[in-house]
């Protein structure tokens, strides 16, 4: 029965080839220009009683699209984007602070609050 094993392997090989054919339509680097026209994504962040709202919510943006954080806080804190290079924002204990950030490289990034230890947002940069 070795022949049926071989044909199975051949079948798998064909499917491998067929699937890898799908891989050619990758978005090339540097065409983040598409995002210039996209409106900023606005996110309200509350830092209150040592916790944050949201706490780990996933948002999806395009590469280069502006994310506008509207922060109300009852304590001094630092918001920090876990990326290379890092981006961080000093938060004061007041309401209605606005921070803007944008990310060019696709991937999933964590925005974390230094003092509470919470992950505030999970930012999916999807080309």
């Amino acid at each position: 029965m070795r022949s049926s094993a071989r044909s199975l392997v051949a079948l798998a090989a064909v499917s491998v080839l067929a699937l890898s054919g799908c891989g050619d339509d990758d978005t090339a680097a540097g065409d983040g220009a598409a995002a210039d026209g996209a409106a900023p994504v606005e996110v309200e962040v509350d830092i209150e009683d040592g916790s944050t709202t949201p706490a780990g919510k996933r948002i999806e943006v395009e590469p280069g699209q502006t994310i506008r954080l509207e922060v109300d806080s009852d304590m001094a804190d630092e918001l920090h984007l876990h990326a290379d290079p890092e981006q961080s924002f000093e938060v004061r204990p007041v309401d209605d602070q606005v921070f803007e950030l944008s990310i060019d490289t696709p991937g999933v990034y964590a925005l974390e609050s230094h003092e509470t230890g919470n992950q505030v947002l999970s930012i999916q940069v999807q080309p």
């Binding site: 090339a28 290379d84 696709p106």
Partner: protein
Amino acid sequence: MTSADWVLAHGLGGARDLPIPAEYAIIGAAWALVISFAVAAFAWRRSIFRGDASGTALPRLLTTVVDAPVTHGVVRALGLVASGWFVVALLFGPNLLTNPVFGTFYVLLWIGIVPLALLLGPVWRLLSPMRTLHLGLSKLLRTDPDEGLRPYPAWLGLWPAAGGLFAFVWLELVYPRNTDLVAVQGWVGIYVFLMLVGSAAFGSVWFARADPFEVFSELVARLSPFGRRTDGRLVVRNPLENLDGLPRRAGLVGVVAVLFGSTGYDSFRESPYWVQTAQAYGFTGSLVPTLVLLGFCVLVGTLLSLAVIAVSGLGHIRRGALPTQFAHSIVPIIVGYFVAHYLSTFVATGQQTLGQLSDPLGTGADLLGTAQLGANSFFSYHVTALAVTKVLAVVVGHLLGALAAHDRAVQVLPKGRELLGQLPLLLVMVCFTAGGLYLLLAS
């Protein structure tokens, strides 16, 4: 906290992979299903794999060269130099993420074991600095390196390695300060101590049973196209024949459960669901994550064992030994998930680490001339290629696992039970694939 401390709390690497698109996951799962049932229904009915007896001999000269004492000496020296470089950075380098220790330990070593073993077979045995150290100490004390104070107990099998592997994945995935140099110093210190004490007690067999890196490497090497035949010749062989020759030792189930379960946990812990749940309930320490990691490993081991034990049905097979008989079929699935999960990290952070290794003490030196190398962002911009590779790795791993399990089933199960008997195992394997793809999809 200074900004350097701040970075320490985050672990290695900035961005994580995008979740894979649903259509790829569905195609992958469908293929896995079709292949599994095709294997059960149409493939061979009598065992065809011959393990270590198989293979086409490579030229005799190659065997001679590979086995030459001078070759062994050179590879051992390479292992010592690389480990020495690592230890210098570990003991005297700065406690910063730019210290190459972290990338070397978590990425080049841990992930690199897989491609190294797939391409070259079980070379860790020779590269292993602890083995070389033990050999040197034995020479110095004029003792036989293979002889310990007492024989290694067979019932203990690979369980010490399963424990060591769990200790590694715990440090990597659970311990919050895993990128504090002190943590890696502590881990490596305990590892070195246990390797020295164990090899003194049991001889060099200790490394083959208890060194987590060696056991992992030997496992993956069983999927390489190279091996050694029972007559001592180096051969090229079907990786499935190679896998068939994996010794069926006690504790093998534990080893594959830790390796597979921890990869699942790594995807799970990054999913928005878990991040939000953990933060909502305040699971900020290491207790709950430790239990969840352990739970993933125990779940894999239990499902595999139950599925295999449910197989037999007839009295004249020792059920307790069956899970060990089938544990090898999880190895290709582990490798598939390793590729899916760590490929982009290996390329990106691996290249960055090669740059950092040029300056092990943080003095601005460029000893290797690689200091300019930064993270490789190839897969950040080739997201479709990455997604396709991930799904293919999982599906191919599953296919190989199903073939290996099928052959073992027709080999060890009683006549008349071979096909019906493997259905529970196939069901579990499909669950593993669906679960794994779901985690890749979700995280």
